[in-house]
Symmetry: C2
Subunit: 302 residues, 2 copies
């Protein structure tokens, strides 16, 4: 939080590197430009702030055409329009190989409404703004189709029936409407983070910063039907995908129980658990009635 005399200024920055954060075999440049902006706007939203400006720097090798660069900027422009954010700086430079995108987002919020990871208390309700695991499963589908394509380049990828999952991976959204609802309803989350690493890992960040534990009710974790079916097709456990799969960019937040009514009026929100004293740890209450410790990788079978 930066003090420039007016509203506190929030700055976030993110560097996306080809071969690490994206694969151009299945991340179209327009979507990539869009996503590069969204992940930063999501970071601003996670502090309960409103994103207002971005800068974008791109390093790109000469294997990309002018049209390719235009596609990338088109995605950036669409994201800026959708979220009413102004692109105010940055540049395009050359790179010996590969593509790197650096986005910085700037936003602000009234000082008494900034939300950190550190404010959760035992007894607070744990909420998430949307379904989890889909972006991870979308990535697995894209990765599988890539391998099929590499083995047999004539095969056409079969992605149309996986549209929801692939869309969650390629075109995530920032939950600005949740931040707007919080403001309108006078609801102040006690702690908040956006789910980029996975529910388990990001919940651990809140617990660590707040000095509390938490439990998650497996049955309450929102998982889209397509995600559930796809997980089973991949012989994976749907809850593991929700806990460990990242890049959903939903907001994970805690609220004081007195604000429960305000949560009920939110458009898209799921109550998935509760914060507990630190010594109780972070656990998953399974649908089968068992209790498992949650780890950064997901959860531990005994």
């Amino acid at each position: 939080m930066l003090d420039y005399g007016g509203e506190p200024v929030i700055v976030t920055t993110d560097l996306l590197v080809e071969g690490i954060h994206f694969d151009l075999m299945y991340h179209p440049l327009k979507h990539l430009g869009y996503k590069a902006v969204i992940v930063n706007l999501s970071d601003i939203c996670a502090m309960n702030a409103i994103p207002k400006h971005i800068t974008v720097s791109i390093a790109i090798s000469n294997r990309f055409s002018v049209e390719a660069v235009d596609e990338l900027y088109e995605g950036i422009r669409i994201a800026c329009e959708a979220y009413e954010v102004d692109l105010v700086g940055g540049d395009t430079t050359s790179s010996p190989r590969g593509l790197t995108i650096s986005v910085t987002a700037v936003g602000s919020i009234a000082a008494d409404r900034i939300t950190y990871r550190s404010g959760a208390k035992a007894g607070d309700i744990l909420c998430v703004t949307g379904d989890l695991g889909a972006a991870y499963l979308g990535l697995q589908i894209l990765e599988r189709e890539k391998q099929v394509f590499l083995a047999a380049p004539d095969m056409q990828p079969q992605l149309t029936e996986k549209k929801y999952l692939v869309g969650r991976q390629l075109k995530p959204e920032a939950r600005l409407e949740a931040v707007r609802y919080f403001e309108k309803s006078g609801l102040l989350p006690t702690a908040m983070i956006d789910i980029s690493d996975g529910l388990a890992s990001d919940l651990m960040h809140i617990c660590k910063a707040s000095g509390v534990g938490a439990f998650i009710e497996e049955a309450q974790v929102p998982i889209h039907d397509e995600a559930r079916m796809q997980a089973i097709e991949f012989q994976m456990d749907p809850i593991t995908c929700a806990l460990s799969g990242g890049e959903d960019y939903e907001l994970l937040f805690t609220v004081d129980p007195k604000d429960l009514e305000k949560i009920r009026f939110m458009d898209s929100v799921y109550i998935i658990g509760e914060m507990v004293p630190k010594e109780d740890g972070i656990t998953l209450h399974t649908s089968g009635g068992q209790i498992h410790p949650v780890t950064a990788q997901g959860w531990k079978h005994f």
Copy 2:
């Protein structure tokens, strides 16, 4: 300039890519970290603003050791301390190959003191805060030593007697003291830019944005003795190095003639020319009494 209710917020961002913007054969990591910060602070200073915060994102391949990353951050830390700037965010991520550094700087200044490239008027005095061409010549020396080393790895580079030039390349400074002097003395430059591309090119930016022309007095352009001698050793024209060599990060600015007295009291400043009507173009008045048009590459012999 971003409006967040208080002082205007200025944001600049820069992406440095290995193999394009630096060569690790002669840019030590500590200096590189320092320089990555400085080029952004210089951008903030060029708007007559005071840099206050930076974020740094680094993408680095596994060929770099933990100690190497520490060296890089040490340089960043030293720059932050020297310029009283806080590092408030960013992260380190992996890269499939090479090193990329993205720095964003945030600063502010009273709204009525922001200086753009666009305010110069015919009759304004053209000034620069320090000598030019040295960083470029330093780079040529480093490049020569690299070639010598590649041809005969046992040879030790002979850099000690070229300390000034090499230092100007490896450890540039941002002219924050000039911005502070402007504020203290109540002097408001009519236009300003920092010299990253070279005097000719950056002067053209001011002229284009302001809709004016300019002349430079060759005899008044500050060139360090070592730079002059090195240029001659390389069989280059010293004034060409000053006009075309970039990365000096001196501030190039214009002032109304009524402020001439205030300029005289500045610690380090050189009056090198004057702004003229647009139709008079941008010219170099040589020490020999000739007039040559200035081009982005330097200047044109007839």
